[in-house]
Amino acid sequence: MQQFWLNSALRRPWLTISWALILTLALAAGMGQLYFRGDYRIFFSPDNPQMLAFEQMQDEFNKSDNIMVAIAPRSGDVFDDDVLTLIWQFTEAAWQTPYSSRVDSISNFQHTEAMDDDLLVEDLLLNPADLTDEKIAKIRAVSMSEPALYRSLISADGAVAAINITVQLPEVDQNQEVVDAYEYVLGLSAYFAEKYPDVEFYHAGILALNYAFASEAEKDASTLVPLMFLVIIIMLVLLLRSALAALATVIIILVTILSTLGVAGWLGIFLSTATVNVPTIVMTLAVADCVHVIVSMQYALRQGKSKEEAIHYSMTRNVVPIFITSITTSIGFLTLNFSEVPILRDLGNMTAVGVMLACIFSVTLLPALLRLLPAKVVPVSHTAKGMERLADFVVQQHRKILPVGAVLMLGIAAFAGTNQVNDVAVKYFDTRTEFRQSLDFIEENLTGTANLDFAIDSQQTSGVNDPEFLAHVAAFSDWLHQQPEVTHVASITNVFKRLNKNMHGDDPAYYRLPEQQDLAAQYLLMFEMSLPFGLDLNNQLNLDKSATRVTATLQNLGSKELTGFEQRALSWLSENMPQYHASAASTALMFAHIGERNMESMLKTLPFALILISGLLVISLRSWRLGLFSLVPNIMPALVGFGIWALYSGEINLGLSVVASISLGIIVDDTVHFLSKYQRGLQEGQTTEGAVRYAFNSVGRALFVTTVVLVAGFAVLAMSGFRLNSDMGLLTGMIIVLALIIDLLLLPAILLRFDKKGKSDEKVSAVQSA
C-alpha cells in the first residue's frame, strides 16, 4: 500500500500533483461559505446558564446592548455653553444611529418639576439657544444631584459627560449590524471632534466590545498571517539552506491552509477572534512535517544517494512518525471539543483537520514536488555537529543532568497550581488597543465599565407599585451603593421618590417613596404619559409591572471578584427579601463564569488526552516501557510552563486554559521522533548509549529545526493585540522550548539511567514495517 502511493508519487509526480490540486480546489471551494462573527455570544454555547439568564432578562425588559460615548472637554468642565451645546447636538444626532432605540444624556434627561398644580416633564436641556448662566447652573445642579445621572452620564467632578446609545440589533447579520451602528457613532465623534477640537471622545459599551473583538481579529488576520508567512520562509531558507526545498514547503502550507479553511466553510464553521489564527497554527504544524521529510532527504543526499533514493529513504523513515505525530497533535486539538466555549471548539476542530490535511499532503504532494524540483547536496550544518557535541555532553554528564534537571523542573512546576482563573472580556485586549485605552479612561474619569443587572420580581401583577416592595428595592439599591466596587445604581425607586416630591410642589421633604400602592401607580401612569419616544420606563419595568430591573455599574473587577460580588448580592437579597424572586445577569457576569466553567471542563479532559496519547505511543512503539518513559517529556513541559506562567503573570484566561491540551499534542511529536529513533538504534543492536547517540544524530537536528519553526509561529501569535491569542501563543511557544530541552537533556538522561536492562522486550519495530 505504502509502496504503491510512494511509487506513484515518485514515478508519476504529475499525477499526484494533479489529484492533490483537484482535492484542494474541491475543498477550498468551501471558503465561499466562510463568514465572520465578532459578537460576544460566540464565546457561549446556546445552553450556557448565564447567557440564558441574561437573554431572559433582555426579553423581559428591553435589550441593553449599547454604545457609550464619553465626552471630555480639555477645559475640565462640561457645564459651559459650548460643551452643553455639543452634548445636545450629539444626543440629537445619535438618534440616527442604525438600530438605536434609545439615547440617554444629560441633555435629554426627562426632568420633572412641579409647575403650579401641574407636572412638567421636559428635556433637561430642550434647546441650546436658551442657554444662559442661570440655565447652565440649573443643569449643573440637577445633573449633580439626580441619581440617574450622577456618576453615570456625568462624572463626579463634572469634567466628563457621556451619551449612552441603546441599540436593538435585529441579529440577522449581527457582525455587519455592529459595524454599521458602531462606525456610525465613530463617524459622529469624528465630525464633532473636528467641530470641537478642544473636546476628546471615548467609546465603550457592548458594541464597542463586539467591534473590538472583530477588529482585533481582522488585524490579526491582516498582519499576523502574512508576517507568519514571511517568518516561515526566512527560517526555512536559513534552516534548510535550500530555496527550492523552502518553495516546496510553502506550497504544502498554502494547499493545507486553503483546504482547511475550505473544510471549515463546508462544515459551516465561522471565523472569529479564535479561529482567525488557525492558519497561523496550521502553518506552523505543517512546516514541522515538511522539515522532517526534507532534512532526512538532505541527510540521504549527503550519503551520496540519488534524488529518488533519498526521497524514498526519507519517506520510509518518516511516514509513520509523521502519521503518528499528526494523530497525537489532532487529538490534543480535538480535546478542545470539551471546552465550554464554542469558538475554542471550532479552533480545535479546524486545527485538527488542518493537521491531518498537512499530514496527507506532506507524504504525497511533497515527495512529488521534491521529485520534480532539482536537489543539491547541502553541506553539513553546524547544528548537526552541535548535535554530536550535545550527545557527548548528555552521555557524559547524565548522572548530573538527571538530579539537577529533576529538582529544577519540579521546583518550578510546583507553582503551576497557584495560577488563578481570571476572565474579564475587557482585559482580553492589550493596553495598546484603542478599545482598552478608551475603557481605562472612562473607568478612571467617569464610571465603571462593567454592569450587573438584577431583576427583582414581586411575583404579582403591578407588584412594583406596592410600597413594601419599593421599600425593599430601595434598601437593596442603598446596599449596592455602599459596596466599594459599585460606582452607580439605576433603580426605579429614584423615579418614584422624585415624582412624589414633584407632586408635593417640589418639597424636598417629600423626596421619599409614595406610601400607598394606588398613589405610586398613578404617579407612574402620569409620568409615563409624558415621556417621549424611546425614553420610556420599559427598560426598568416589565410588562405587567410585576418586576423591576436594578442596574449596578461596577469597576472592572476580576472574574473571581465579580462572581463573588454576585454571590454577596444574591445572598443579601435572599436574606433580606426572601419573599421576592431575584436574579442577576450581565455580559460581564457571563464572561466571569465562562472562565471557571471552561477551566473545569478542560482540566477534566487533560488526563483523558494524556492517556489517549500515551496509549497511541505505546501502540506505535510497541513498547510499554518506552510509553512509560514518554510520560516525563510529555507531562513536564506543560507543568513547568504553567509554573513559569504563575511567576510571570499568575492569571489564566480562556486562551490559556486550552494551552495544556494543544501543547501536549504538539510536544508529543518530539518524544515520538526521539523514542522511535532510539528504539531503532536498540533494534540495530546498539547499546543504550549508542541508541541515544543514534537518536541525536538522526533526529536531533530535525527536532531543533521544527522547534525553532514552531516557536517562531507561536511567537508571531504572541504579537496579537488580543490577549487570548497572544497569551496562548506565548505560553505554547514556551512549553515547546521546554519540551525540546527536556527531550534532549532529561529524556536521554533518564534512558541512560533507567533503560540499561537492554532490549529483551523489544519486538519487531513498528517502524520496520514501513
Partner: protein, 265 residues
C-alpha cells in the same frame, strides 16, 4: 400654426425636464390628499360613541398583560375630537381618567384625573410619542385623525386582507412626533384603514398596525374591533380589542370638561 408648434415643443421640453418629476410628485400629493380627505369625510357625522377597550400586551417571550378601559368620544366638526378614557385595570389605577381635547393646528390639551390624590392634573409635555400604558401604542396613534396633522402622498395600489387598497404616505407635521413617516393602506371599497407601517426617526420600520373585524354601524360608519400593533424592532406586540361600541349616547361638551373628568368613574 407656428405658435402652436412652438407651444407644443415647449411643453414637450418641459415634460422632459425635471419638472415632469415635480409634476408627478404634485399629482401624487393631490391624490394622497384626495384619498385621505375621502377617508375623513366618510367618517364624519358620527356624533359620539362609547366603547369598552381591552389591551393585551405581549413581550418578546409572549408573556401577556391586560389593560381594561372605557372610552367616550365626542366628534368636534371644526377641530379635533374630544375623548375621555377611564381606566379599569390594572386595579391600582382604577378610576384614573384621561381627557384629551385634540386640535388640528395646536398641541392637544390633556388632563389626567388621579383618584389617589383626588385631583386633576394637566399634562404639560410636548411628548405624545411615548408608549400608552406601557403598550406598543403611542398616544399619537390613538388620537383622532385630522387632515391638518399630516402631509400626504399617494404611493401605489396594493391588496391587504383581500381588499384592494391605496397606499398613502403620511408625514407628521408635529416635530415632536415619534415618527418620520407612516404608510397607510386605505381600502378602495370603503376608505377604511387596513394597515399602517410606522417608521421611526431614523427611517426604519418601527411597528405595523393591522385593523380587523370591521363592523358597519348606523349604516355608514365602519369600526374595527381588533387592532394588532407589532413592534418590528423588539418583537413586542399589543392587541387592542373594542367591544360594546355604542353610538348616539347623547354626550355634550359638558361631558368632556374638567368637572366631568372628576365625576368619571
Amino acid at each position: 400654426m407656428k405658435k402652436y408648434l412652438l407651444f407644443s415643443l415647449l411643453s414637450l421640453s418641459l415634460c422632459l425636464l425635471p419638472t415632469s418629476v415635480v409634476a408627478e410628485q404634485e399629482a401624487a400629493m393631490a391624490e394622497g390628499l384626495r384619498i385621505s380627505t375621502e377617508r375623513k369625510v366618510r367618517d364624519t357625522g358620527w356624533g359620539d360613541t362609547e366603547a369598552v377597550m381591552t389591551m393585551i400586551l405581549r413581550d418578546a417571550r409572549g408573556r401577556e398583560s391586560r389593560r381594561e378601559m372605557r372610552t367616550l368620544t365626542l366628534e368636534v366638526l371644526d377641530d379635533g375630537d374630544k375623548a375621555l378614557t377611564i381606566f379599569d385595570e390594572p386595579r391600582d389605577v382604577r378610576g384614573s381618567a384621561f381627557l384629551t381635547h385634540s386640535h388640528t393646528m395646536q398641541p392637544d390639551d390633556q388632563w389626567l384625573f388621579l383618584p389617589a390624590v383626588n385631583r386633576v392634573r394637566r399634562i404639560v409635555s410636548r411628548n405624545k410619542s411615548g408608549p400608552f400604558m406601557g403598550s406598543e401604542y403611542a398616544y399619537e396613534d390613538l388620537s383622532s385623525f385630522e387632515l391638518e396633522k399630516f402631509s400626504f402622498t399617494y404611493l401605489r395600489d396594493e391588496e391587504v386582507h383581500g381588499e384592494l387598497c391605496y397606499v398613502v404616505e403620511q408625514i407628521p407635521q408635529d416635530e415632536y412626533s415619534g415618527y418620520s413617516r407612516m404608510e397607510v393602506w386605505i381600502d378602495k371599497s370603503h376608505y377604511r384603514v387596513q394597515k399602517i407601517d410606522y417608521y421611526d426617526r431614523r427611517g426604519s420600520l418601527l411597528k405595523t398596525l393591522t385593523l380587523h373585524d370591521y363592523t358597519l354601524y348606523k349604516d355608514e360608519f365602519w369600526r374595527a374591533h381588533r387592532m394588532e400593533m407589532v413592534n418590528a424592532q423588539n418583537q413586542k406586540s399589543t392587541t387592542l380589542l373594542m367591544r360594546d361600541i355604542q353610538f348616539d349616547r347623547g354626550f355634550t361638551d359638558a361631558d368632556f370638561d374638567n368637572n366631568a373628568l372628576q365625576r368619571a368613574r
